[in-house]
Subunit: 669 residues, 2 copies
Amino acid sequence: MSPDANERTAIDIAEMRSLANFDVTAVKMELRGGEMEWRKRRNIVDIISADSVFDKSQRPFMSRLERYQRAMAMANRIEELREQLKWDEREVDIAYSLCDEPVPLDLHTVAFAPVLSSQASADFLKEYGSLIRYRGVIGAYAQTELGHGSNLLSLETTATFMPKAQEFEIHSPTLTSTKWWIGALGRTATHAVVQAKLLLPSGQDMGPHLFFVQLRSLEDHKPMPGITMGDIGPKTHGGYAATDNGFVRFNRVRIPRSAMLSKFANVTEDGQYVKPPHAKLSYGGMLYIRSIMVSSAGWTLAKAITIAIRYTSVRRQGGPPGQEPQVIKYQSVYYRLLPILARAYVFIFLGRRMHTLFQSMSSRLSSGDTSLLTETHAVTAALKVLTSSSATESIEIARRAMGGHGYSAFAGIGRLYADQLPSTTYEGDNFVLDKQVVRSALKSLRTLRESSSRDSSNLSPSSEYLQCLESSTPLASSWYNPARSISLLQRRAAFLIQNLADNNSEDAGVNQRASKAIAEAFVAARVGEILEGFRRMGIRERDVLRKLFLLYLVITVEDGLADILSFDLLPRDPKTRIRSDPTASLRAIINRLCLELLPNSIGLSDAFGFTDWELDSALGVSDGKVYEALWERAQLEPLNKETVVEGYTEHIKPILQRGQRLSKIQGKL
Amino acid sequence: MSPDANERTAIDIAEMRSLANFDVTAVKMELRGGEMEWRKRRNIVDIISADSVFDKSQRPFMSRLERYQRAMAMANRIEELREQLKWDEREVDIAYSLCDEPVPLDLHTVAFAPVLSSQASADFLKEYGSLIRYRGVIGAYAQTELGHGSNLLSLETTATFMPKAQEFEIHSPTLTSTKWWIGALGRTATHAVVQAKLLLPSGQDMGPHLFFVQLRSLEDHKPMPGITMGDIGPKTHGGYAATDNGFVRFNRVRIPRSAMLSKFANVTEDGQYVKPPHAKLSYGGMLYIRSIMVSSAGWTLAKAITIAIRYTSVRRQGGPPGQEPQVIKYQSVYYRLLPILARAYVFIFLGRRMHTLFQSMSSRLSSGDTSLLTETHAVTAALKVLTSSSATESIEIARRAMGGHGYSAFAGIGRLYADQLPSTTYEGDNFVLDKQVVRSALKSLRTLRESSSRDSSNLSPSSEYLQCLESSTPLASSWYNPARSISLLQRRAAFLIQNLADNNSEDAGVNQRASKAIAEAFVAARVGEILEGFRRMGIRERDVLRKLFLLYLVITVEDGLADILSFDLLPRDPKTRIRSDPTASLRAIINRLCLELLPNSIGLSDAFGFTDWELDSALGVSDGKVYEALWERAQLEPLNKETVVEGYTEHIKPILQRGQRLSKIQGKL
């Protein structure tokens, strides 16, 4: 007897898994940064996933208060394990990342501690460094206000220096000056770094500066005098549910002079302002967050695509009963999913390079060398926009490719989306950053044009695509050669910027398109370099990764066709018959690469190395038994607790009885 | 003294409102179907919004059980009001739509009742018609199974005719045959229309047929013997939270022979099958739902865009303090929002035409005339895909244009998205429908080519775009002439289909692009007709609507540029200097139309006629006082109930104490 649809799923995924023609473990080690790092991680996964504090089975049914309490319980447990097992910072980071959602303590690690360590004075760090490291205080970073976000100059909170008392007075003069959205501030943080306008005794407004403010008592966690705080309420799609994004108002709150973060700027005892040596020395923090957003987007995508590829490999639909294909074998499905798989890989490898770039800049910055700042700013801004927008969009594409069951919360992709979504807005709204990216590109173009020799050979990586305006080499003829796509993407970016510089454009969408083009040209060049780096690997692994990265390149070209064709950059194809369509060979290579990658798709997603516990998805279970998993989870739904639902007597019975009575009356008429 | 940022918002929206240069009420009446209909609606809005059962203030904090109970309480209240105020069906429909989210009773109205009225025998309707009308029974429509959705032939549930007992036995033979996703079935419905394979005593499988099955006792609401039911759990992003999508398993449940829906097909007493006169007579129900999805997408978009336009008109950002522009005046913002405003208008007017088309088909169908079925199927499939995908995408664009605060649940757009999202999957997955749309287009092309005269004059509206393959008239030269865009969109669709018919395409995304092109060509032609219809209106109203609809057309062309340029359909622009860019004039008209519409944007969104209660958005309040509204809503967050959050002692205090202890140890080392 042939297996029923339910049993069939386990067979399907096992068969797909067996098709991988490369060493999955070898690729996994490449992705995970080597065997040491991988073992360290697996060890922590084993500990955390066996611990009931981290149980996820009730999460879909919890209120925000319960989600928050669970998050704090997880943090407490991690800090306990840190002490018991002598975890280092890296191990603690891994443990927090396994919470599988943003938790309040993240803000301490990602924003509060780094800002203090880069902006606070040595004296301050001597006093507080160790407390901060061990969470003896819990911190928030309070910048955004109800009325203003990224425009620092318009922030209204004031810090007025009081020379007599040698104190600053922190004050919120208006409703709109209320700090808002501040992660971990609503209910958790004991301290915050607060952005406020520094007002000198002379009345002079020195613009935004950073101050260290105690928010809650270390005795009983009650708000300090003059401070009104709370949680700002739920977020879209239930994202960041466990994080207490909060508001705070300061009513003339006094802090000591030493509480100003004064590594670079300072106020003397007699109220004189000490200027920082370089205006942009305070940018490090934001660049740090942007630089880690690339990897983070990649790993989130990796989860989403693992789930989607597994489910579509076992879901069968269409065609005569008993002979239905696995849905991943439909063109419309693999064409949507495999490019996302490629994107996840690219973002992960790219993220590692961003990390390196940030480290170099940061170590130079700490010695006052700002030479890498402009380049790092340009690159992280462009990539922040590209990866956050693209990851968000791709997660939803993956979810939707799973059809009806993809709309179940148990599919596990929706929550990834909800938590990824604000990355398009925080740390610089993508549409605001687009303009900065384009402005910086226009400046590079001017510099290039003004240089006497118009020498493009020493352009920085963020603007090397402008080279093609100076020297035009013929386009590589085969799509199998990555140089063809890389060059097309660089030309698209260069012509967009050139066009923008030379024409009085009335194109309202151009900044968005140009910023994307610039970022994609940069990534394409890096993809070329990463491909070169694979030479160390085995031939089969190299082959499959080469195809995957090629797919990334050609899909990016396809997505940019409107501008590529506008500038007539793609040679018309002589082969096609009706109205020579220059895109036909591009479409064909995409389809062929997808088909070549398809047998390896389970292998390539297995290589991310997620356990079922990490994915927490009924549709992404590694054994393929998706229908049993859906069934079991549905039985936990609290609505199912009573045989007859609570509220039947009050709300449902009256409807039925009224209807029965009315229909009898009606029947008699 | 100049007003502070908070007071400024009310002034800003009032000023924007005063800029409208047309009669907002006149356009409102056009949108709302005339004054009678508008007054009827407003009357019901007044009644419902004043009734505490419909209060929305606690909704963002409710559990699913509470959301469900609230939904049933609302339904009970509406049914009570129906009786008291003698509401007709239209008034009841309006009242349900004001619930502002999907509620279980919707399924009764949209799926259960219509299927019965079109497929059940006259005898059946005599017995049950009135009970169904007055909700003396509450119904569900049970088609989808755990293992299969749209592929009816693969459904596993069986209905075996038992001639001795003159009964059918409804049975779920496998786990995957469990009915799943069935709205209102989880906890509410007393009855369901069930899709099941009809098995005759001869053993013959007659394929899927419909049966009327009692699920719960009318005495105490307990499941009937042999029936296992429950809710399937939460949905992505908390969508459909108040609806009990459910599962059901049948263990050899007996129903009488008369419970088969037998208007067309039937089984005789001795187990003989009576064939329906036309195989597709049962399609009506699905087409009905698809036809109303167009309007529904339009009105949801209308809500989202009203909120986004209002907020971006009062939010100021960027530039020196005190001189910050309203964000809607930034290119990157109005370029995203005004096309959505246009789309909302187009979908609303288009929806009215779909309603008319469906009514004609339906009345013909009830007399066995299937002549309009193919056309209605083609049109509703294409438009279902286009409007559901486009509405979903546009809602998110509108939300994201609101920046940081757009991620607050109080923005009110997220829940619109969450509830709109499954429309891309239900009633035919969009990617499956794409293929049907293309198949039907290829068939029309073959028919056209095979007709001796190649006469394209009597093509049906769904394929009239193919005309341009036969006779090519020159393209209108000005973008201000709608004919230019309409013709370009028709040519794009026609060339895509022709290319697909004649070339052995290896293009994995072509069905998706071609289906969209076909739908957009159809809509563009309708937009042209609707524009003609505005002749009855005043000159100023006509002018602003003409610009709005023109914007819809040119934005649609811009979105389709990749294919338009691939087929070289857009003449190269002689004016531009560097690399003649054929799209420059298109980009310019888009920007100009946006700028011309901008002063009317508040007026055009006011014309939808939503009250603040209907929008339920802190950022969309009509008086512009968004910061006060955000502040007030945050105070309701249950996390803020206690001064020190519940769980402090268990989870937070230990973290702080441990950290303080460790940092002291560390300090000593």
